[in-house]
Structures are given as structure tokens and as C-alpha cells.
């Protein structure tokens, strides 16, 4: 068939054997019928002028010729195409990938996981066997965080080091399988221990891959032991005269001790000792640090080192804690008396460092001020401006925009420069009716005011997952913390808005309108360096009234309010330049984004400044980086990749049009990444599961024959389709010319023309 089609002038490209052949019309078959229906009456009309006596034979012949011609014309008008599917031969490929992450260094000297894997390649054993079976020389790669190609020489000399700080098996497999080049990938052979410490969970990500994955594990018996300590989220700031709670984890591997001593040092001096108890192979511990003196402290937590331990790098963990003298001045402006304001302010005053002023409107010409829980006599005109100067956090509730219109520029300016936080609570009126739509303060809201509707449906707060905001963590355990929010007294309803603005974040959701899109209860937006928390519903006070103090001797409502307001206060040391680090701890070899916020002498965020940062490590080596301006006004960013462990001092300097705008200092503790050693066991289950789900197999390094047998060596081919337009065919053109000629000839010889 292929030869016939080629003979007829159709180009089938690389298709070697046909799988299917279909005729189709661009207008569809209905188009052909309609075209025929249009053409047939025309030809019938022309026949009516045939006035001579024609024999039946001639009539039939002429009719046949004419009908064929008309059908052919109608067919060509409808755009006939041939759909040809066929097989195209493919070049086969096999990829062999070697895990070069640090977990491959686990094992005793001379018999690490990587050493055992290396034996697979000695005397080209694996590669030769694969080539014998398939006739293909495999493509070679090493992988850890990224994938790198390896040359045959590198494999022959086994020049692969277990140096990668993390392993992303999913990304590595996808990367190689997704870029097979000009060929068909018979399979991925991954030589790894199955420890994946970054990216997507391979058990979920890889079964969808259409390429078989063959795993080769290091095999052997590992006799190593390991103890590890980690603090997933170390604290960065503590407040004077308060306590900071640090939560961490310990884990063990091949060790039988049920508990261990954790030694805590502060700036190198003994601080305390705590007990860590294992439940299974893991254990949690909590450390309470009293912040009784201002300053920056380096805490280090260490656990004992065992003889023959797989690695000692995960036996200590450190973090920096900055203790600051807090000064939490709150200004509350309410459009009407409310229990919410009263209970929040009562909660705040449980903190001895907090100062509070609350102005409440009674009538338009009657306001009452409350200072430190002492209501003053009513006055005609409130004086917010003086109190705003000292405020770290502004609390707005149900107050008409008219009353604070004159303060709006100052509120926005101070928020953007990071000197003020804003807590916005719902009142009895909509923000639109209070005049905020189109106002200067509307831009601070995390929601759009196009539609604002009260939903009087009682509901509960929903804190999904583990929040990254410390003020929302009222208990150590994330699950218990989520349950705590869920069991707070129900709120009576909330305001629903048309949309959440881009960049805004939902901190606490709700059970109102359950399903995939529940209504948010607490949102956060950012204005420059400042933060806004917007609560959509309430009342909140029942949580404070019923829970403070509780039987647990802990005041969760007060803690939530005080910590949230402290977070909002967002105090910065330098008015013009400030450094924002994603965490006070980084890892050697891993990039860290450093943000620098710059404002001018009037505390307006400054664009177009030249910002540089200088990093000094413990060896007094200095590195300079230039910052790039981000899309956020006044925000500049640089990516830092620390090379060494230890304390790093960071100084940021900003200049604008030749003038110094100021500088800021920060500290960063850099540690060796220990993620590779958190689960030191070879993950056999994961490898077997993925191999089974992708039609591959798992085998040990000491016996690769099952793998070689399982690889499919059938020459590759792929199905390809082509569309051939029959109007380009010379056969049809010839037919189209021949039919009228035949009719003419017939008429001529029969004497009919």
C-alpha cells in the first residue's frame, strides 16, 4: 500500500509501514451530500435541452460520465484528505543515573553505599551487559539536587563524589525522561539508596512517568549507628522578660538507647541540659529560654557522639536568638463601644511592656478615651494624631473614614516604612458605608470592596496545616494547635468580599461555606515593610472571656493577641535601611535570598537606590554582593550562597544619587545541611514501589542480572500520522480532465454533438 501511495505521488515521510488509512473531508460528509444536491438539479436542467432521439445505451453512458464528473467535482470542493498512520523506527536509549548525594557516603570506611554502587561499574560490568542486551551504550548521569551528564571516562574511573546536600529523585527522573532527545527511552536505571530529601514525593510523582524505572540499591548490610538532632523552625526573636519556646526533634538509627542528654550552650558557655526521650526511633523535646537580657545570642544544642557513627554532622544544631526590649504601644480607634475592643485591650495589658490607648466614638461629637484600662471623661474632639505618633500598632474597628481621613497619609507612610502595624476588626457597618471604598486606606486592605456582604452564619476558625506564623502557634503540636482554633467559641458571622487582592494571604480560614473555597476569617496583606491583619468576622471576645485564664494555666487568647500585635509592630533598628532574612539560619551551599528595604530621610520607600551587601564569615573572609531592585517598591534582593559553616555578619549599605542613605546589620548562622542524614536507612520500600508501578524492577548492586533480563530490547518505533490533501494529487486532476473529454468523444462518435 505504501508503494502504491508513493507511486500516486503522495509523500509519506519517515513512515515505513502503514497502520491505518482513512479518507476524510474538510467539510464533512454532509457537505458532500449538500454539494451533490446542489449540482444534480443543474445537470438535470441541462439535459432537458437534449432534443434528439438518443438510444437507451447512449443515455446511460452519458449519464454515467456526467454523474461521475459531478461527483468528482463535489468531492474536490469538499476538501478530501487521506489520514495515514504508520510506524516510524526509533533509536533506543537507556539512561543510567548515579546518586551523588551525601547519604551515599553512609557506611563504614571503604564500604560506603557509593563504594558498593561503584562495583557495579567495575570492568564496565553493568554497561557491557546492557550493551550486549540492547545494542545501546547507555547515557550516563549523576544526580543529587540537580542532574549532570557523566562521561564514560568518569564512570570508568568512577569519579562520582557523595557531595550533594539534598536529593530530588522526582526531578532527576523527570528531567532525564522528559528530554530523551532523538530517540526512545527504554528505561531509567537509577543507582541510589532511595533517600529523597527535596522536591515532590517520588511515590506520588513518578508512577505517572511512562518510562520504566529500574532501581539498583547499594545492598550489603549496614552496621552503622546514628543519632541526630534538629530544630525545624528555630526562633529568631525573643522579647525581654518573656520566654521563648524552642521545639526540636531527635532521631536514632541502629542505636538502642532510649534517651539521651541534650547539652545547650549559649555563646559557647553551658546554659542548660535537657533530656530527650525516644518514642520508637524519634523523639520530641522542648526548650524554654528565658529572655532576661537584651542582645544577640548563639545557642547550640548538642547530643553525644557514638563510636562508629555514620555522621557526626547532625549531632549538633545551632540558632541565633535576638532578645529585644519590647515596647508595644497600641492605639485603638473604634466607631462604637464593643466587647471585642475591651477584651483585646485587656488581653494586651497582661503583658507588662504593653501600653494602650483606646478612643471610642459615642456620638459624632462625643468621644471617650481609655488609657491603660482607665476610661477618661468624654470629650468633644478626639486627639488621635498625638497618640498615633507613639503607636506601634493601630487597631481600627467600625470607625468612619471621615474621622481618620487626616491621619491616612501618616498611617500609610508609617506602615510602608515598617514602623506601624494595622489590625482591622469588623464592626457593625460595612467598610463601604464607613467611607473606605476609594479611600487612601483601601489600598492597605487584603480584600476588594466591590462587594461586601454580611454572612450571619455561625462558624469556626480553621487553621489548616502547620502555620509559619508564630503568633498562630499556641501549642507545640501542629495538630493540637489546629484543633485548638477549631474548638474556639463559634463566631456569629463574617463579611464576604468579592475577591482577595493579589499578594494577600489567608491566615485563618472558616467553616462558613465549606468545600474547596471556604470564606476566610483572618487575612494578611503587606504594605511596604508593614503588615496588615484583617479579620472578617466575629465576635472574638467570647474566646477571651471563656478561655482567659483556662484550666491549663495558659492564656491562649491573650497569647494570640499579644503575639499577633507584637508581630504587627514589626520594629526595625534602622529607620532607612533594614535587612530581611527568610530565617536566622542558612545552610552551606544552599542559596538564601536576602532582602534589603530602603527608605529615604522622610521614611518614604526609595526606588532606584544602589544597594550592596557585605558578608563576613568566621574566618574574616568578606564577600560583596550587589542587590537587584524587586517589583516591591523600596525592596532590593540578593542571593547569597554561604560556603562555610558558622556565624556570618551581614551589612547592607544603600546609596541614592551619590548620597548615603544608611546601613543595616544582621547575623546569620550557617550550618551544614543534615537533611541527607535525617532518615539514614536505605529506602527499599520506595524503590520497590516505584519500580513496580512503572514496570521496572528493583535489584541489589551485587546482582544486576535480573535488571538486564527485564529491560526490553525490542527496537523502538513510534506511531506517526500524516494528512495528505487529495487535491494535490495528479491522478484526480487527470480524471477531472478525462471525463469531459470522454463525453465529448462519445457524443462525437454517436453523432450527438
Amino acid at each position: 500500500m505504501r508503494s502504491i501511495l508513493t507511486l500516486l505521488g503522495f509523500d509519506l515521510g519517515p513512515i515505513r509501514s502503514l497502520d491505518s488509512l482513512d479518507l476524510a473531508l474538510s467539510w464533512g460528509w454532509a457537505g458532500l451530500v449538500l454539494t451533490l444536491l446542489a449540482l444534480m438539479p443543474l445537470s438535470w436542467f441541462l439535459y432537458r435541452f437534449e432534443d434528439r432521439q438518443v438510444s437507451r445505451r447512449d443515455r446511460l453512458a452519458l449519464l454515467g460520465l456526467r454523474a461521475t464528473f459531478i461527483f468528482l467535482v463535489a468531492l474536490l470542493l469538499c476538501g478530501p484528505v487521506l489520514l495515514v498512520s504508520g510506524w516510524v523506527p526509533q533509536k533506543n536509549k537507556i539512561a543510567v543515573m548515579v546518586d551523588g548525594s551525601r547519604s551515599m557516603s553512609i557506611g563504614s570506611e571503604g564500604d560506603t553505599r557509593l563504594d558498593r554502587i561503584a562495583k557495579v561499574f567495575s570492568q564496565k560490568k553493568l554497561l557491557d551487559r546492557l550493551q550486549e542486551k540492547t545494542g545501546i551504550m547507555p547515557d550516563l548521569f549523576s544526580f543529587a539536587e540537580n542532574v549532570s551528564p557523566l562521561s564514560l571516562q568518569e564512570i570508568e574511573q568512577f569519579n562520582v563524589k557523595a557531595a550533594g546536600n539534598q536529593t530530588d529523585i522526582s526531578a532527576a527522573a523527570r528531567n532525564v525522561a522528559g528530554n530523551p532527545g532523538d530517540g526512545s527511552l527504554l528505561g531509567l536505571v537509577m543507582l541510589t539508596d532511595g533517600v529523597s530529601t527535596a522536591g515532590e514525593n517520588p511515590a506520588i510523582a513518578l508512577p505517572n512517568l511512562r518510562t520504566p524505572i529500574y532501581f539498583v540499591g547499594p545492598g550489603g548490610v549496614e552496621k552503622g549507628v546514628d543519632l541526630a538532632i534538629s530544630i525545624p523552625k528555630p526562633p529568631a526573636t525573643g522579647y525581654l522578660n518573656s520566654n521563648v519556646r524552642v521545639r526540636g526533634e531527635i532521631s536514632r538509627y541502629g542505636n538502642t538507647a532510649d534517651s539521651l542528654k541534650i547539652t545547650v550552650t549559649r555563646d559557647g558557655k553551658p546554659f542548660t541540659e535537657i533530656d530527650g526521650v525516644f518514642t520508637g526511633n524519634r523523639g520530641n523535646f522542648a526548650l524554654n529560654i528565658p529572655c532576661d537580657e537584651e542582645g544577640s545570642y548563639r545557642f547550640e544544642l548538642a547530643i553525644p557522639e557514638l563510636p562508629g557513627e555514620i555522621t557526626s554532622e547532625n549531632n549538633r544544631v545551632s540558632f541565633l536568638l535576638k532578645v529585644v526590649r519590647e515596647r508595644l504601644n497600641i492605639l485603638a480607634i473604634s466607631g462604637e463601644p464593643s466587647w471585642d475592643t475591651k477584651f483585646i485591650l485587656n488581653a494586651v495589658l497582661t503583658d507588662p511592656n504593653a501600653r494602650m490607648v483606646a478612643w471610642t466614638r459615642l456620638k459624632d461629637d462625643r468621644w471617650v478615651c481609655n488609657r491603660e484600662l482607665k476610661p477618661q471623661a468624654g470629650v468633644r474632639q478626639p486627639d488621635f494624631a498625638t497618640d498615633l505618633k507613639d503607636a506601634d500598632v493601630l487597631l481600627l474597628r467600625g470607625v468612619s473614614y471621615n474621622f481618620i481621613r487626616s491621619l491616612a497619609p501618616e498611617i500609610v507612610r508609617r506602615l510602608e516604612s515598617g514602623n506601624l502595624g494595622l489590625l482591622w476588626l469588623p464592626g457593625f457597618s460595612t467598610l463601604t458605608s464607613l467611607g473606605y471604598a476609594g479611600s487612601e486606606l483601601e489600598s492597605l486592605l487584603p480584600v476588594k470592596l466591590d462587594r461586601e456582604e454580611w454572612r450571619g452564619t455561625p462558624g469556626n476558625m480553621v487553621l489548616a496545616g502547620e502555620t509559619s506564623y508564630n503568633f498562630l502557634k499556641l501549642t507545640d503540636d501542629p495538630v493540637e494547635n489546629g484543633e485548638f482554633f477549631a474548638t474556639l467559641p463559634k463566631f456569629e458571622g463574617l463579611f464576604e468580599f468579592s475577591a482577595i487582592k493579589p499578594g494577600a494571604e489567608i491566615l485563618v480560614s472558616s467553616t462558613v461555606r465549606s468545600g474547596p473555597d471556604p470564606l476566610p476569617f483572618m487575612l494578611r496583606s503587606r504594605a511596604g515593610q508593614g503588615n496588615v491583619i484583617f479579620v472578617t468576622g466575629g465576635p472574638l471576645w467570647p474566646a477571651g472571656f471563656r478561655l482567659v485564664p483556662s484550666d491549663r494555666g495558659f492564656a491562649p487568647y491573650a497569647a494570640l493577641m499579644v503575639n499577633m500585635l507584637k508581630w504587627l509592630a514589626n520594629r526595625r533598628e534602622d529607620a532607612n535601611v533594614s535587612i530581611e532574612l527568610p530565617a536566622s539560619r542558612g545552610y552551606a551551599g544552599q542559596p538564601l535570598n536576602v532582602k534589603v528595604w530602603v527608605s529615604d530621610a522622610r521614611h518614604q520607600l526609595q526606588s532606584g537606590a544602589q544597594v550592596s551587601i557585605e558578608i563576613e564569615n568566621e574566618k574574616s573572609e568578606k564577600t560583596s554582593l550587589s542587590c537587584i531592585e524587586t517589583s516591591e517598591k523600596g525592596c532590593y534582593e540578593a542571593s547569597l550562597v554561604p560556603a562555610y559553616r558558622g556565624l556570618h555578619k551581614i551589612q547592607a549599605k544603600a546609596r541614592y544619587q551619590g548620597n548615603d542613605l544608611g546601613s543595616a546589620n544582621a547575623e546569620l548562622i550557617v550550618e551544614a545541611p543534615t537533611a541527607e542524614f535525617e532518615n539514614p536507612q536505605v529506602n527499599l520500600d520506595l524503590m520497590k514501589q516505584i519500580a513496580s508501578e512503572t514496570a521496572g524492577i528493583y535489584c541489589n548492586a551485587d546482582d544486576i542480572e535480573p535488571l538486564v533480563s527485564a529491560i526490553d530490547a525490542v527496537p523502538g518505533q513510534k506511531l506517526e500520522s500524516r494528512i495528505i490533501d487529495l487535491r494535490d494529487s495528479w491522478v484526480l486532476l487527470v480524471l477531472l480532465l478525462l471525463l469531459p473529454l470522454a463525453e465529448w468523444y462519445w457524443r462525437r462518435v454517436r453523432g450527438l454533438s
Binding site: P337, P375, E452
Partner: protein, 258 residues
């Protein structure tokens, strides 16, 4: 206030007993059932009015001030229209959403913590059980505010019960220039005299604990009686009743602000 007067107040009310977990009782004014066309017109009018207003939270956090249903034999139920009238005025003059009903609650009631402000009034004996004293103390420590209105003859018992609550804290007589007399309305002479009892001057006593006023005890003033419906106390002129309402609103605002 004599017994006949009190009876005259209670008779036109329907007594509604709330069943279930709570022992809350409510007095709902007896009303004539409106005719059907009239109700329909009112309903249509209400729908039209609501539809033109922006969607707000009119029912959000409605203010209720229940009275304490105490033991000891005193008439805790006296003056059933006082709090509904105060709440209606709080709604009219301050724009607060209210639930203008006469609600009563026992100290031992689980529902106590739904209300951050309580009203206590009556004539004569008051007695709290030991467990109720503990509950009341926790309620006050958590942020509650108790307003005691001495209608007559409560002084001895109120002071005794307050002493049981706060054995180490003395009642303080509020001076004339205290902020509570200068909130929404100004009372330059301090607590107004609404009802004459024994010819003594009116006094506002308070218990302050941790910087906050927790209990306010009004003696020889009877602001509570002045809040009742017109005609309940024929001697109360509109001016006197307005004075009582103003003082009560000042107390409410003060309680919500500290």
C-alpha cells in the same frame, strides 16, 4: 416600691420559661396580634427598607444585659422592663445592636459566660452558694462587670457577699469627678438621686481589682427603677427617668471601655 406596684408591672407580661440546658427566663411583653393585612404591609416595608441598605452586620454581637437570678429570698425579678429599656436606648443613642429582652441567668448557669455584663437588683436578702462565689469570681477575673442596683434593703447583704468575693479589697466610694459620671453624659454632682429611700445621699461604690472596676454598687439612688416603663413609678417624672437612663448609659459605656 411596694408589692402592689410590682404586681402591676408583672401582670401584663408573659412569663417564658426557657427549657433545656439553661434556666434562663425571659419576660416578653404581651401584645395584641396585628391583623394580617397590617402585618403583610409591615413585612413588605421592612423588605424594601432592608434591600436598599448595604449588607451590614446588624445582628452581629447583639448586646444583652441579663439580671442575676440569686438565692436568699430577695426579689431578683423586680423591674423587668429596666434592661430592655436601657438596651433600646443603647441602640437608639449609641447605634449598638441589642437584644432588648429581659433575660435572667443563674450564676451556676453554663450560659453565664455568654454575658460580659450582669445586672443585679431587688429588695432584701441575697445569698450566693460557695460554688457560686467561685464561679462569679472567675467570671469577674475573666473580664466580667457586675452592676448592682440597690432598690431598697440590699446593702447589708450586698456588702456581705462582696466581702466573700473580695475579702481583701474594700468598696471604694466613687468621687463626683470620676470618669463614670462623664462618659456620654455629664453628672457634675456625681450619682443622681432617682428614688428617695431613707433620705441618705446616693453613693456609687466600686470594687477595683488589678486596675479594673469589676463591681459597681449603686446605693440610695435606684437608677434601675428609673429605667422602667413610664407609669410604673408614678412619682418618676420624665426628667428623672431621663436622668436615670443617662446614668445607666454611662455605666454601660464605662463597662465596655475598661
Amino acid at each position: 416600691m411596694n408589692k402592689n406596684n410590682r404586681k402591676a408591672v408583672i401582670e401584663p407580661m408573659q412569663w417564658v420559661e426557657m427549657t433545656g440546658q439553661t434556666e434562663t427566663v425571659r419576660f416578653v411583653p404581651a401584645q395584641r396580634t396585628p391583623s394580617l393585612p397590617f402585618s403583610f404591609c409591615i413585612m413588605i416595608l421592612a423588605i424594601l427598607l432592608l434591600s436598599v441598605q448595604p449588607a451590614g452586620a446588624q445582628d452581629f454581637d447583639r448586646l444583652v444585659i441579663p439580671r442575676i437570678k440569686y438565692g436568699g429570698g430577695g426579689d431578683w425579678y423586680v423591674g423587668p422592663t429596666a434592661m430592655p429599656n436601657l438596651l433600646r436606648q443603647a441602640n437608639e443613642r449609641l447605634g449598638l445592636p441589642v437584644q432588648a429582652e429581659n433575660v435572667a441567668v443563674s450564676v451556676s448557669d453554663q450560659e453565664l459566660y455568654r454575658y460580659p455584663m450582669l445586672f443585679m437588683t431587688g429588695h432584701g436578702q441575697i445569698k450566693f452558694k460557695d460554688q457560686e462565689i467561685n464561679t462569679l469570681l472567675t467570671w469577674l477575673d475573666n473580664g466580667g462587670f457586675l452592676w448592682i442596683n440597690d432598690s431598697y434593703g440590699m446593702e447589708k447583704y450586698v456588702k456581705r457577699e462582696i466581702r466573700r468575693l473580695y475579702p481583701d479589697i474594700d468598696l471604694v466610694a466613687l468621687p463626683k469627678d470620676h470618669a463614670i459620671f462623664n462618659q456620654l453624659y455629664e453628672f457634675p454632682d456625681g450619682l443622681p438621686k432617682i428614688h428617695e429611700h431613707d433620705g441618705r445621699p446616693p453613693v456609687a461604690y466600686a470594687i477595683f481589682d488589678k486596675g479594673r472596676m469589676k463591681i459597681l454598687y449603686l446605693l440610695e439612688s435606684d437608677v434601675g427603677d428609673g429605667l422602667e416603663d413610664a407609669g410604673v413609678h408614678p412619682a418618676d417624672t420624665p426628667e428623672i427617668r431621663e436622668k436615670a437612663m443617662q446614668m445607666a448609659l454611662n455605666i454601660l459605656i464605662y463597662a465596655m471601655n475598661q
